[in-house]
Structure formats: structure tokens, C-alpha cells
Amino acid sequence: MKWRSIVPGASLVLIVVSAALLSYLWTPFDVATLDIRHRFTAPGAEHWLGTDHLGRDILSMLMVGARTSIAVALVAVGIGMGIGVPLGLLAAARGQSWVDELIMRGNDLVFAFPSLLIAIMITAVFGPGAVNAIIAIGIFNIPVFARLTRGAALSLWTREFVLAARVAGKGALRISAEHLLPNITNLLIVQGTIQFSLGILAEAGLSYVGLGAQPPVPSWGRMLAESQTLISLAPQLALFPGLAIVMTVLGLNLLGDGLRDWLDPRMRRER
């Protein structure tokens, strides 16, 4: 029954994603327009979540900020999967050889660094901005997917259907693509969801220290950073971006948990 967490998880994620998509067509207010006379408006009928220290509508900022968060996390996970999965398959196919060693020790090397610190270093060296944040977060997704793929693929290599494929004369490349990959897709989807939520957090963290998307592009992390000295004056400035991050990360984690249980064949039998 645990897989039922898919429903609340997916709903939360759906809300955030649709708010982000909607912001391309419509936001309650323009996020680029400042209205300093109406700063710190409390949440109400006109500004549902109030206005910030420069008079911008917080709801509109959150909607546009969701775009940045989702885009950064999504592309970063894409980089991780796009590079990590082929590396993992290759390592499994050449199991116990120097290729395997090289790939896996390289992954250990990246894995050994605290990811957020290195992300900060990368953006500090190459300059702050959304693109560098994507690259920085993406690099640290590579070993996660490479390890996962290698482990799962390695156990599949000893199975009869793989043996049959080999007898039929298929090469390692075709076996990996046609037989192994479809069998580990479930795992990758689950891990991808979890990495996606970590990516959202990492983006918020980088923006918080000023290394993510640069102003005036709204970003959840920077909204939090800017609200620090204003928290006793206008708590909504910190509350709503914080809630947005919590909601998204919670939704993705619930979704990931639910998907894992749902896609797991052992759990399926119990149903």
C-alpha cells in the first residue's frame, strides 16, 4: 500500500510544474516591474502572497522562480543520466577489466568531494549564473547514475536471457541497449526523481549564496537570502519561498518513494 504516496507526491509536483508552465503565459503581475511604494504588502486579495521589498508580487516571483529551479534541476539530472548511464553500462560490460576500474575509480573521485562545495567552487571560478549552476550540479549526478547502472547491469549479465542473446551473436553494445537498459529503467526513474529533488535543493543553495541565476531573474534561493534581514518586518518574504522549496522537494520524494514501491516486482506481487 506504500505506493499510494504517488498520489500526494504527484499532485504536489504537478502543482509546481503547472505553475511554472503557466508563468510563461500568465503571471498575476509582471516580475520585472518594481513598485517601491507598495512594498511589504501583506497577503491579500490583490497580491495573494503579498509583495517583496521592491514591491514585486511574491506569487508571480515564485511562479517564475519555479521555472529556474525546475530547468536547472531537470537539465542537471539529464546530464547525470546522459553521461552516467552509458558509463555504468560500459563498466558492467567490461566488468573486472581496466576500463571498469578506470570508470569506477573516476566516479569515486567525483563522489568523494562534498558536492555543494565543489558546485560553489565551479561557479566561483567560471562565474555565477544558471548555466554554470546546471553544469556544477550535473557533474555530481554522473557518479550516482553510473554506480546504480553498473550494479544493476552487472547482476543482469549473469542471467539466462543475456546468455541467450550472447549465443545469438549480439555484441555487448546491443545487449546493453536492447536487454539491459529496458530492465533498469524503473530504477533510473526512481533515482532520477530523487536526484531531481536534490537538484532543486542544490539550485536553491547556490542561489542563496549568490552563485545561481543572477538578478533580476527570480530564484527561490535568492528570495530567501534577500528576506533574511526583513524576516521580522515581513515574514511572508521568507515563508513562501521556503514553503515552495519544501513543497517541491517533499512532492518529488513522495513520488520517488511511491514509484519505487509501485515498480518493484516484489511489491507488485503483494498487490
Binding site: L34, I36, H53, G127, Q214, P215, L233
Partner: protein
Amino acid sequence: MNYRYCNPTLLLLMCVAGSALAARTDITVGMVLEPPNLDPTGGAAAAIDEVVYANIFEGLTRFGPDGSVRPALADGWEIEDEGVRYVFSLHPDVTFHDGSDFTADDVKFSIDRAMAEGSTNAQKGLFANIDNVEIINPEKVAINLKQADGNLLFNLAWGDAVMLDEASAGDAATNPIGTGPFRFDKWVQGDRIEMVRYDDYWGKPVKLDKAVFKFISEPTAAYSAILAGDVDAFPNYPAPENLAQLDADPRFSVVLGSTEGETILAMNNAVPPLDDIRVRQAVAHAINRDEIIDGAMYGYGTPIGTHFAPHNPAYLDLTSKNAHDPDAARALLKEAGHETGLSLSLKLPPPAYARRGGEIIAAQLRDVGIATEIENLEWAQWLEQVFKAKDFNLTIVSHTEPMDIGIYANPDYYFQYDNPELQALMTDFGSETDPEKRTGMLQQAQQMIADDHVNGFLFQLAKTGVAASKLKGLWENSPTQANDLTAVYWDE
């Protein structure tokens, strides 16, 4: 039984009464930036003077809280030979913190050291007109000038002209030994500097016996430190948004004063498209100062129309020359051939006036068709990229040195304004002694830089000081970079 019970209670009561009567004699002062070293004669950082000026080091003259020049280590002086020779009588019985006597030798040493070829003094210009220092006797010293100069007493009051002892001057960066009322005690790098009262001080004894300067760069941390009582005063409080709240709190007093900080939107005059005066003028007209002062500084600041402090008698109000006029800005951009819009980099250092002001200016520029690419920089990066490498279009910064209009006569300065006419004017200004003519020249210079729209002139930074309400005697204004604690006491 009764007696035994009573005795400790009485003792306790006496203790409580005793401690309530004695006022506190220590202070912790909050500062945003930590000084890189403690030798005011060997570094440009304002934070050095903000710790040591008047507290540890003193000069022949000094600035008072109102900016006036007052006698310090020199009791008095006589001006001879039509203004080219100043004879100073030194205060007797002055000692350095290591016990050695302060005499005419130290004056000659300090000024010769500042003037020397390899000197690292950040304000060598202050001494440029000095020909030599002549020791008459241990308590009398003469300074001979190259030409008459009405500025000598003002120049000698700067932190860059304080008196050091030959024996200890070499270590002043880490172990400053001066003649002031406080003696350097210890420096915990990254956290605080402590000083204690110097009991053999020659002047009026100070009421505090210990002073700590604590460095807190985060506005949020500054706010909590003030609220928690971890610091007793924050003379330049970094988060103007909290001032109204702190002012309403009876535990604190907020004191607003003036500073020498002209806050400008600096433009790179040597690089297209800002080498075109029409584009610079368009930027100037796009700026709405009131919105910036309100939005970034919560109303604390005075609009300026040129690079000059409004509280200076020579100030001209030129804000109408570059008033907010978006239509004029658009017309100028069209005339300059930028109808389709243009994009400029805007590099912002950490202070709130720059970060928040930058977002507001970006919105105002967008309104007239100028896109900006904002980049938030740390101070070290800003100094490297903007100040040294001049790799920027626009930046926002506050120039806090007093009377610094002379930077416009330096074509190598980071905004790269090269106007021979102004350069000649400032050279003449240096040798002019007639006060009225000097005022006229300063006003002419203000006009020139406003007419050329060298930079976007935003506002004069306000000094927003926060202190415990029982703390008295801190400076209200900032006529120079200093946190003079000599008159500070707790009123309890």
C-alpha cells in the same frame, strides 16, 4: 540564628547595590569590514582608520566630530614667512604605549617616512607640498613648505599623517604603538580587535577601560548581534531596513548623520557605448534617485547631482541637470543610434546600496530601452575586475573619502574620465590659497563633471548609527573614517 541568616543577605544586597552604581566601562563596537592591517600610514582601507584613529594613533592635528581641525599632539603653531613655514609646539610629557617619549624626532621621522620614495602611504599627496621637517628643539618642530598652502593643518589631521615611533613603526601593521588613550591588546583575526586604556595618556583621560571592535559582515548577523547585546554600537549599521524597528525599541538609539560617501553609478567612460556622452546622459536621465533612496536605503540618503558632499559649503545642487526624464533618455538613445536598445554589464559589490540599488536601476534602465546584465561580486572580485582591470560598463559604489573630487582629474582612475580642462583646473586648485577662489574652482569642477555626465550621481550615503541608548559620546557624523571612542561613556 537570626544573625546568621541575615548576614549573607545583607552582603548580597550590598553587592547588588554596588554593581548597580558603577557604570559599565567597556564597549564592543560592530564594524562590517575587518582591516587588512593596523598601520594607518601604510594602507588605504577605511577600516584601519575606523579602528585606530584617535584611539591608538594621533597626529599633530586631528579632526573633531564636526570635521573641524583641532590641535592634538601639537599644542599650537605659528605660521611664518607668509605661509611657507609652520612652527609647531608639541605637547610636553607625551609617551608612546611602549614608554618612549614623543619628541620632535618622532615628528620628523613620521613625516619623512610618509614622504619617502618607497613609502606605502595611501595619501602621499597630503605631503607633496612639504619641503622638509626641521627639529628646533625636542618640543618644537618646523615644517617648511614648497609653497604657501592653507591645507597643511587639514592634511596633518588625516589618519595617514599620524605619529609613530621609529623603534616600533615597522611592526605597526600587527602591533600598533601610538600615543593615543587606548593601547592595542590583541587581534583575533576574522573576529575582533581588543584595546585597553593607556594609563599614562597625556590628554583628558577616557572613561572606558576596554574597547573591542568586532567584525560582522552579514547584515543579518549584525541585526542579531545588536538585538542580543553582543555589540553595544554599530556606527555604520549595514541594514537600513531595520532602523525604524530599532529606533522604536527603547533599548537602542538610532543616530542619523552625514558621511563623505558619494554613491554613484560609475560608467566606463573609455569603452563604447558609454564613451558617447549622449548615452551617458541617457543613463543619467533614466535614473530616478528618489526611488533608489527609498527602495534601497529606506529613505536614508540625500540626492546629489555631482560628486560632492551636500553638507560642504562649496556644494552646488545640480540635481536638475540630470533629473529623472525617461523621455529625454529615450530621445538621446535614439540620437546616439541605439533605437533598438543596448545591453550593458552592471557589476555590483556586496553592500545593500549596490545590490538593491542595482536591481532598481536595472528596472529604470529597462524602462528606457537599456538592458543590463547584473553580476553580483564579492569585494575582492570587484577590486580585481572593476577597480583594477576596468572590465565593466556600469557599477555602483560609494566613494567615502572626504573631498575626493580630484579623482576625476586622474584619467587612469577606474571610470577613465579624461578631460584636460578639469585636470588643469585641479592642478591650479592645489596651489591656490585664497579660500573664495578655491570655492569657485571646486564649484567649476562640480559643474564640469555634471555637464559631462561622467557618472550617474545618486545620493550621499547617510551615516546610520545604532547604539545602546545608554551609550553616549559617539560621533554623529563621519567627517573622516573614524570611530573615535575618546568621549564615549555609559550613562547609567
